[in-house]
Symmetry: D2
Subunit: 381 residues, 4 copies
């Protein structure tokens, strides 16, 4: 057993995603035997106390309140961006220009212009890069992809996805500030479109190919909120809910929906694909299961199969416990790091690269354009 | 116990729906104690052998191959139309003009022009009339309406419905003829729009009020089929699949979808409604259950409740067996007849009347218009 | 189409089961094309007003308050016993001695001595006979039997069944009288053992063969109740709950349980069978579904299949509606009558005959003996 | 933030449980802010290469092949026993006598005599101790306990539990050796009784109090296997399956079952409790959910609630991600360590202590005695 190469990480952002990434960097080689070992060199957050506490908690060697410190350090190999959306472009571009590998939370930019700039810079740098569309690496979702690649579905007729939450229904919820930047369009870029639909779109294109055209609607149910920092009432400009119809390049039809106003759902991300010979569906609220229907089964015992995706033959699962024992949400991040480390060894880019992730932002953009125009809009390429 | 008044029925059509209606007329007073007793006077079908066998099976006193015979008979009170869509207008109008009560399968006409004529004639006649949107009378669906009427949901944000089937995927399936008239646009008027979406739309407006605007897409996956009667290849002109986005008058948003190309689903009609304080969902494949989420529940025990709608306090259920024992699809027709008979006693029209049912055809029309125009279309009133 | 032979029915009992049987006799030939047609000749009930109303409701030609009238009539072919358990023996024996065909609700007798006498008399008469273990004829349960007969399960290791209700939890519920004779041991013979376990045992032996030995416990949770008729407090002597372990002749192991004290369950009859190559489970609360697991499936898509038992290839279902549309509890009785009529044509007895049904009473008897002795008890043959 | 005290760990065993414990020690303070910090000082395994690799993987400072080294070290505070059952007694007693804190996998001993000796030694030592009945700490199970403590269930009538696996069905599976010691009675003490029933019993008594008496059966389906090490055929002496009926001290009735021959189930541990006013059920295969039925709900909306136990108000969940996102099996071990560390601060023992865990071994013993005697057996105290 030769010692592993180190991969020195500089993390920007110590919120929910900063925790999920840190956990993944620390655990990956306890379960996946990769050639490289992430080392938590430094973390950056605007609030120094928060940065210090985060560093202590996760074992980062140092902390800073200026992300430029991370980019400037010679001993940092990879900048991981887990800060709010309005910071992505500046940090990613600087990191790329400094020759760092880059990872970034989704969506890349607040709008297509930002996204294109980010991708151009990262591609010019030519270093390994990846966007955290972690749901691809939930074993049940990875299994869905495998089954499709094996041709089990045949021609696809339908795709449908939704991402339902209910956390912004109360009109008393403030917007803006550290805790609620996702409600502030100037920071987030959009509401559920970039936050939730983006996940639906990324998975959809990964499983079913490019989307050509869309027609969409968006709605803001609560039109005015108090700003968390200023205490002032101000207009809400994000989309609280969004839905769209789409046509894929493979001629299949789709419906997509995302909202933060679906009472009873905390993070119900679901998708279903109907093919000529088989269908698949999945629900994040039961993330270890994949529903599978195979029309080629003998007539009288044909039915939807509830696959408990915990067997050693299922994607990633051999590395964890024993068949029947479930894993959770956070494991998808471990898998994503494992695949990234594997990509460094193989030279084959880990998916989705920034370029691949840009395709999702382009669909989101078409959705928002259509919601304004009231027409079908083409997705840019 | 005074003897019941008779209600003499003349049925047109002896297919699937003819059977369901006949069963309901025969059973209604074994379980519901109504003032009137349907009497199966006569049945009409184009094929005399089929008509005779049907009459023998269900106890119709006579049969005929010409529906005009039924309309002409003095001893028939009610004409029930269960024949293909291209016959609805002519029969309904003649029956109305003859002063008969009329019941009709959905959709009313093949297009809005037909529907308007039918409704005008029936309303001019001023007799009791009803369209067989039977799903309203499944106890779980009736319970949904009751919960909404009680105000349990609060302001509604979202409605979503779909009706998924898979029976036309095979390209070898013929179109046209007695067995496959639903694939022939000249007979059916449309494909899934009038057949399946119509059910979704009727329930939706019954539960959530009028729909204002829609944007839609339709698709024909198999473009050419052999005609069942002529053996010739011909273009398929129905919509195999349809989906639309909608805005209700109450400002809630909706997605609707219907298809006959969703492998794994035979008759999966589902809907979900998300309100500010509660949500509801239902699935025809588990028709005795209603899913209910109430946000006012104590935090730690808040969850989706699976209501097994078989208790004596649930709509219609006191009349059947004992709590816990399920009923089936066909019982919804019994309930609809019971409500119709009750309406004759009370003078309060049984819902949906022809006028109410026309609202559904108007939405379907807007959907088909939008699928052609690529724009949002207003629903006519 | 030659006219059907008539089968003249005399029904004893007009409670819940009387309704279910009557419904089945009336409907059978609307859906199943049998050689014989049941004719509702006469019904008997102790209360004349109830008997008259029941006759009017279901179309019985006459009614009586003395079952001996039915047995004495030459024009009655079959006596159907749906009255409380304490009447079964006397009526069945008299009917048999009068040369009638006999059908009887379960359990046959209040105890093994009664059951043996009944079976001896009916067998001596040599006429067609059947006991209403209707759950065998729910399509999903019949499908389970078919899959087992096809050898899909291989060697069976485990069987487990339970029947959970909650209707007697309240200590205020009276015992005895017309509405509550199931709580009166002198009428019912036993509590849940004969009422609920009997169903579990019948299905189990039908699917998995004879039971050799059992060890059991019973409990009476509410020890004293007011008698419905006398208003006096008296001891409760039935078993409120019963559970037993069993060994089948095929060496498989079993657990059985029945209770009326399981809050949240109205009629949750479930069973599961685990074989070497496949497993099956079923739940009366979702009676149209059968769960099926086949170990021979390809590894990565191996899972429990939810069979929606509504396809035309499923037992009995071709006769009803179209695939995807559910039937209910009462249809099992229609199927049982259809099979009985078929048996009259074929000469092959319809299952379970009185002799076959006796096997269930013998297991129930061993269960009650074991509950008293605290030991394993052999099942008599 | 004062620095945490260290708690130096010496782990014995580097199999499945060794991994689960190590993961928990490492993660606990990343999510739970405890006063003490576990430090992985040393690991012991018989195979030196395995021990070395394990130490490298998890960050143990040293490794050894002799557990006595760990007990002898002054700088180790706690001995954690995760080795096969036949080693528990010797190690636990030595560790206790050396004044160490002790944690041990379940069951404690291979038989009651061993268990009693272990408990006597550990209690004499007077140091903190805990047995790894980790399922108590799955949030849904902890929530069940909380609801019971709040009195939501009222008087309990029924308890039922089962633990179903299918991994030993193949007769080709060897017994004995490192990989299959669970099939070797001389090492494991018993088969499913100590391995799987033990979990069911522990949870049951934690939720519902002591068990008084049991009647049981066990079975060995495959009677002879090849020994993994010697290659010789030899008799199988473990119990492949076990089931028992029980009476709790609170007069409720129970059924329990465990097997490794239930095709289709990998680790399906389920329990259900029926109380006068509410019922609860749970399934390890959907470990983030708790099913809850409350009879006090309004009639028409009364139903089983599927609680997605991922909200911040649910046990332990505030420490993890955001509502709606699931955790997995391994997190129960983190919770158990967190509770243990908390107990060191509070002085209140973490449950279950060795003494508490002995109660489970006493029930298991009664089960095995009953399986031999064929009678009801009292549980020792």
């Amino acid at each position: 057993m030769s010692p592993r190469k180190t991969l020195n990480i500089g993390l920007v952002g110590c919120g929910f995603m900063g925790r999920a990434h840190s956990s993944a960097f620390l655990r990956v080689n306890q379960f996946f035997d990769c050639d490289a070992q992430p080392v938590l060199k430094a973390v950056c957050a605007r609030n120094p106390a928060a940065a210090e506490a985060f560093a202590a908690n996760w074992g980062y060697q140092t902390f800073t309140t200026d992300w430029r410190d991370l980019v400037a350090r010679r001993d940092i190999d990879l900048i991981d961006i887990a800060s709010p959306n309005d910071t992505h472009a500046e940090i990613a571009i600087a990191a790329a220009e400094a020759g760092k590998m880059v990872m970034c939370e989704k969506p890349l930019g607040r709008n297509v212009a930002e996204t294109r700039k980010i991708v151009a810079a990262v591609e010019a740098a030519g270093r390994a890069n990846m966007v955290w569309y972690n749901y691809r690496r939930i074993p049940a979702v990875s299994l869905a992809r495998r089954l499709i690649d094996e041709g089990k579905l045949g021609r696809v007729f339908h795709y449908r996805a939704k991402f339902l939450q209910d956390w912004t229904i109360s009109a008393d919820l403030p917007q803006g500030g550290a805790g609620a930047w996702r409600l502030d369009a100037s920071v987030a870029g959009s509401g559920v479109a970039g936050d939730l639909l983006a996940h639906c779109i990324d998975t959809a294109m990964w499983l079913n190919g490019p989307i050509d055209t869309v027609t969409a609607m968006t709605e803001t149910f609560v039109r005015e909120r108090t700003h968390a920092a200023t205490g002032k009432r101000q207009e809400v400009t994000i989309d609280d809910a969004a839905a769209f119809l789409a046509r894929f390049a493979n001629r299949s039809l789709a419906t997509f929906e995302a909202t933060r106003y679906a009472r009873g759902h905390k993070a119900q991300y679901t998708f279903e694909i109907n093919g000529e010979t088989a269908s698949i569906s999945w629900d994040l609220h039961d993330l270890n299961r994949l529903q599978y229907f195979d029309h080629r089964d003998e007539d009288q015992v044909r039915g939807w199969r509830s696959l408990h995706v915990t067997d050693s033959g299922h994607p990633y699962m051999k590395r964890w416990w024993v068949p029947g024992l479930q894993i959770g949400y956070e494991h998808s991040f471990v898998h994503q790091v494992a695949d990234f480390l594997e990509s460094l060894s193989s030279g084959e880019p880990a998916s989705p690269t920034f370029r691949e992730a840009m395709a999702t932002d382009l669909v989101t953009d078409a959705v928002l354009r259509s919601a304004r125009s009231g027409r079908w809009e083409e997705v840019e390429r």
